[in-house]
Subunit: 130 residues, 2 copies
DNA sequence: CGTCATCTTTACGTTAACGTCAACTTTTAT
DNA sequence: ATAAAAGTTGACGTTAACGTAAAGATGACG
């Protein structure tokens, strides 16, 4: 089977981040790549975690918030209090659902404003239907 | 009729922010409350803008990004190039729709992980895969 | 063998978005 | 009138999330 160990440059290209970012995440214990000598090699697990981290980032979650949640996805290391992690996850889920609701509103809102603005630009015709 | 001019403390309570935040937003030209003497009084318009700003903040948009977009909602001041604002808004809308898609995925994901975690906690019932 | 290219650690710099004084002025209450 | 409350303008401090530059280690290659 392919061992799937990826050097840092390749990871960066894959995820559109800089080496600094990956090392920074490691320093924050969000990623723990394998070491061969000094060099880092990222595993399949690292990829999964990084995906989650970047995803969270796009939703405005802090790295610290994501770190709490990552344990939930880390099926190997079950030393972490699973029950506590579940609590965190439940709150996170609620937050994300609330965010989705607000996002719907924001999108609807923005669409309306856009329609209005376009109707002004388009012709001076006040009403614009479809 | 009620002029609806709100002092800073009331605004803060209403929106759950500090005075510092409101003054900071003003310094960035995101808000322009009326002045009576030195004091600030926030109008209905300010409230609308602040709502949008805080909304954007929750989605990870920067204040600068929000500032660009606010012009779209500012129906009075049409000195701003409306067509350019519309372009900005279209991109913003696309970004938000993409974010919504990702949010759906993230929520589904998290729900699954939670279900899995709960099944472990609940009883030792479900079999551990490998 | 020497020379890149890539990677490493260390460490100081930067930006956004406020927090936190300090020193005044202005309102409001007593 | 006076004291407390509320608000104001600087100005410096802080935190998160990296950027960036310096100096050395390591592996590949002609």
């Amino acid at each position: 089977m392919t061992e799937n160990l990826t050097p840092i440059a390749e990871m960066c290209a894959e995820f559109g981040v800089t080496p600094r970012t990956l090392r920074f995440y490691e320093s924050k214990e969000l990623l723990t790549p394998v070491r061969v000598g000094q060099r880092r090699l990222y595993t399949r697990c690292c990829r999964a975690r990084l995906t989650l981290i970047l995803r969270g980032r796009r939703f405005g979650f802090s790295l610290e918030e994501m770190r709490e949640l990552l344990d939930l996805y880390n099926h190997e290391d079950q030393g972490t209090q699973l029950s506590r992690t579940v609590e965190v996850a439940e709150k996170r889920l609620a937050a994300m659902e609330a965010q989705r609701t607000e996002l719907e509103i924001a999108i609807t809102d923005l669409r309306q404003q856009l329609a209005w603005a376009r109707s002004i630009l388009d012709g001076r015709g006040t009403d614009a239907a479809e």
